[in-house]
Point group: D2
Chain length 338, copies 4
Amino acid sequence: MIIVLKSNATEEQIKHIVEKTKKLGLKPNISRGVERTVIGLIGPEDILRVTPLEIFPGVEKVIPVLAPYRLVSREFKKENSIVKINKDVHFGGNRVVVIAGPCSVESDKGLRAIARRVKKAGATVLRGGAFKPRTSPYDFQGLGEEGLKYLSEVGKEFDMATITEIMDTRDLDLICKYADIIQIGARNMQNFSLLKEIGKTKKPVMLKRGMSATIKEWLMSAEYILSNGNFDVLLCERGIRTFETATRNTFDINAIALVKQLSHLPVIADPSHGTGVRKLVGDVAKASIAAGCDGVMIEVHDSPEEALSDGEQSLVPKQFDDLMEDLKKIASAVSREI
Amino acid sequence: MIIVLKSNATEEQIKHIVEKTKKLGLKPNISRGVERTVIGLIGPEDILRVTPLEIFPGVEKVIPVLAPYRLVSREFKKENSIVKINKDVHFGGNRVVVIAGPCSVESDKGLRAIARRVKKAGATVLRGGAFKPRTSPYDFQGLGEEGLKYLSEVGKEFDMATITEIMDTRDLDLICKYADIIQIGARNMQNFSLLKEIGKTKKPVMLKRGMSATIKEWLMSAEYILSNGNFDVLLCERGIRTFETATRNTFDINAIALVKQLSHLPVIADPSHGTGVRKLVGDVAKASIAAGCDGVMIEVHDSPEEALSDGEQSLVPKQFDDLMEDLKKIASAVSREI
Amino acid sequence: MIIVLKSNATEEQIKHIVEKTKKLGLKPNISRGVERTVIGLIGPEDILRVTPLEIFPGVEKVIPVLAPYRLVSREFKKENSIVKINKDVHFGGNRVVVIAGPCSVESDKGLRAIARRVKKAGATVLRGGAFKPRTSPYDFQGLGEEGLKYLSEVGKEFDMATITEIMDTRDLDLICKYADIIQIGARNMQNFSLLKEIGKTKKPVMLKRGMSATIKEWLMSAEYILSNGNFDVLLCERGIRTFETATRNTFDINAIALVKQLSHLPVIADPSHGTGVRKLVGDVAKASIAAGCDGVMIEVHDSPEEALSDGEQSLVPKQFDDLMEDLKKIASAVSREI
Amino acid sequence: MIIVLKSNATEEQIKHIVEKTKKLGLKPNISRGVERTVIGLIGPEDILRVTPLEIFPGVEKVIPVLAPYRLVSREFKKENSIVKINKDVHFGGNRVVVIAGPCSVESDKGLRAIARRVKKAGATVLRGGAFKPRTSPYDFQGLGEEGLKYLSEVGKEFDMATITEIMDTRDLDLICKYADIIQIGARNMQNFSLLKEIGKTKKPVMLKRGMSATIKEWLMSAEYILSNGNFDVLLCERGIRTFETATRNTFDINAIALVKQLSHLPVIADPSHGTGVRKLVGDVAKASIAAGCDGVMIEVHDSPEEALSDGEQSLVPKQFDDLMEDLKKIASAVSREI
């Protein structure tokens, strides 16, 4: 950590800071420049996080040197982590995993019809929401446990792994019982109670990036899970909120490339939410694989006109079939397979 | 709701849409322009929310006419709502309420020292976090129930109402037992499970705006609480996330003025988080009262150098004393009192 | 255009609006709903743009139905526009054009060394700035006409088309004399004097998206050029400004896909500025081609350590060689060539 | 400037950096920590700006210590600058200056009617655009020189100083001839050619913040003007672009308070553009004065229904009269006058 002093900092103020940091067990190193004096602190930065050096008299700013996350970083673990869901579905290896299914589980029969199609086209994980985060209290909120049962049954029937979103710590046991992967949605990325509880399980979890979360904050939220003992974490980019209104979100393709470099964890792309517009989903899915993601998650509905949520961004099965052909070509162009 | 058709929409497509909307119980009204045909739908918009008309063949876009919130709007209730905490503390009336205290409750003694000062200067509500949402799992996470006890005791000792943040549905009973007002933090503004549970209580609640929430989404989250039966809601603007990095957040002064016009609920300003910089807190607090807010919440710590969280934005008691004098003058200039 | 009235709009106010719009030559169409009355206006929307209907008594909001741009839209021209620079370089066809070169022209010799390498690797357009937009007045501002001369000479020597940025209407003749394509930088996207002057020439122009411009505003700026008579316009996505600070800009991959659908003009990707980080340039270039762009522009410098601008995002020739091999594979996967 | 090295930086890489920086005339100071080695550089930072140390082998990041602007900073000049327009109008002193008038000059007679009213209510500077930056090429572009003449004549008639926007370096002489203050609009904040040319004049200039400009970039643009010799610069906050769509822009009240601390230049608030909504203008004007601004600029039109631009955010004279009474009370509450 580096402390930049104000141009008019006094010797007494410098002394106060030096003493304080020594007391914390750090070794201060003073550089006196023409316009500014700078104090470099040698020692563990964690000690400093709880001390607000910014407000010590004479301090202009404090600059951290290290990234605040450890366990999720490439420095902690150099090689890619492989998150194994079952004997066939491994995230982070050479195969790009495709997750597909409806936004919400709406019925047993509907889910089965969709699963049959996406499985045939090459998807190996089935998605479907049972508890839905909806902006309006008047919108469809999901089928709850009934939806979880359908998801579990249909997943087994088609030999697909399953993923569903959690919204409340109280539902954790229920969801662990029925699904193979727990999804933490964008709105709960900084629901720290939830992160801690999931960290204590051994269940694979997909952590979506918050819609206004920096990459650093996203990795810090993953750190919550790893630091509680659960290392089976997938990171999912799903678009961020910007000033642009022509799309529902702005898919951050830079983040796909950067997070692969910063972290050893698998990175998943969600172009359905990342664009919010059905006719853009395919192009952004292709782009994501070209940029290096380890999986894509795509909303598919066999009758989007009747969908109870997110119909406007769902592909119909025929579109999904065609897209899978395109994705295989892109995967092959970057020496991967689907 | 208005449906704008594509320039090449066919008569068959128009017919399909008209039939669908009639089946939903709406009355479609077709206007054929030179370049576009537009269908206006007369009837309750709620019916339409669950039907993704955007994806019907021939549709270019769908435009809602009504705001999606009802109970929180001025149209539902014209006069200002008064949220009464106790016989002295009423939010939404002529008196601007001042909430003050440390970011976190750190000790019995420390809290008492701060309470004594802020009470004397004119604050009537004492703040203090017992469960802290922290970006890093390695940072101080709060004292938990012990902190709630201190807050309750000190509040009683100085005859101040109390407010503290909730982070988990499982803590609701505990917090209701100890505090007078429940705070929902920015990161939980769309924790819908939490909103619903709090909506079922009769406890006054302060809902902070999410750091990337639009005003509409913020009001929709309040709608979750009101629609579950709890009308004692305070709305708190605490700054939004923008590209600017010179301040921690960008305080949205427009939102203070606009939300007062859109909603009957009291609006509170949090300039401590809204700026994140101690030397800006005072000016933005003054601005907020000038713009019409019903309360301000300010972090005060008697020894910010030792604070376990947010020391860099806390005022010391002397600064708070001076600021209160300034705030009284501004309040008077807009015909209110503190 | 659609006018939504306030819930308490009076009959007199409605009459006033109806009369006003009739006077403008439009045909108003009134729909009276349960909660709101809505007036649809049939006739040319351009007439309405200059009349601020928002402020008429009784009006709640005014909603445009049509996109405000015409000449740049797919509705105006269905097939892709081909912008021909010379007999070999055509933007918008099956071949993805690669533009490469240094950020700034720094010397005759340096430019030649870079051009030799990028030409050999497959680039067909040479970039190089002579007038540089720099945030600081104390930074290198470019070689001016001397730089233009070098660019022109080296371009001819290696049989490459050339592109350079304009910053001032007064330099237009000079730049037209030396370069094949004029670049309008992000900071000048809404320099309307410049857009109009360039619109009056017949010179091909590449219009970069402003760093906080919506897609609509970007297309409107292109409309300025087309409506003045110049149809040889390339649209260049170069990243937008968001809250994320880990990258210099957020490359908007959605925009690549969407603008190809909204407009007939060729779309170029600039991953060098779109990321601002050398190690991300390659992945985002690949993603852009996968998403459908018609060209990529990449900064290359043979000695980035000595570059007078943007060294941190420039590739060295060896990296560029390798990237070109990757880009050819991606192009092939989407049935295009480089 | 501080250089943070990668955890695996080699001694050879460190030596290379040390030699390079010594060659530049700087004194490197190496601190070897447990996890990172850091090199502090003592000497003028300007030398370093042109050397991209970020890309030297072994470097992880480079952190500047000093703000990149000098002449505009409080460190360069401690006391407030007073920008004198004429004997009565001084910006930066105890009196808060009010600038008012229509968005565009539309006619001689219309301007006179507005000027009479705003002068009477207490405004001392008359605004009016003759060259208008419009997003659409099909919108009203201003009256040009005819508009400037009207502005000059009406200003003299009512003994008001005048301000108008420049959009093209070629218009500089013309505008200097007719107006007292040149306005640089948000879209031209980084039109560096224009900044340099205006810097060479002695004309007072009001520099609006770009809609996505950081405070640092805004001050750097002012630095362009001061470093060319013109110190009579006013800084105008006019709202920034964020994700919020309920208002046209987000007025950055933090910036008002912060820029007063960072710079000695006068700060002006433009609540008309900062909100884009007429019914919010008054509250945000009051807030701005409470936060410490030196002037406010407000759009007033006597017949907004007929205004050729920005009618939706203009006050009518009666509203302006009432607002002036409110502003005087707020000014008085912060010990200033209007």
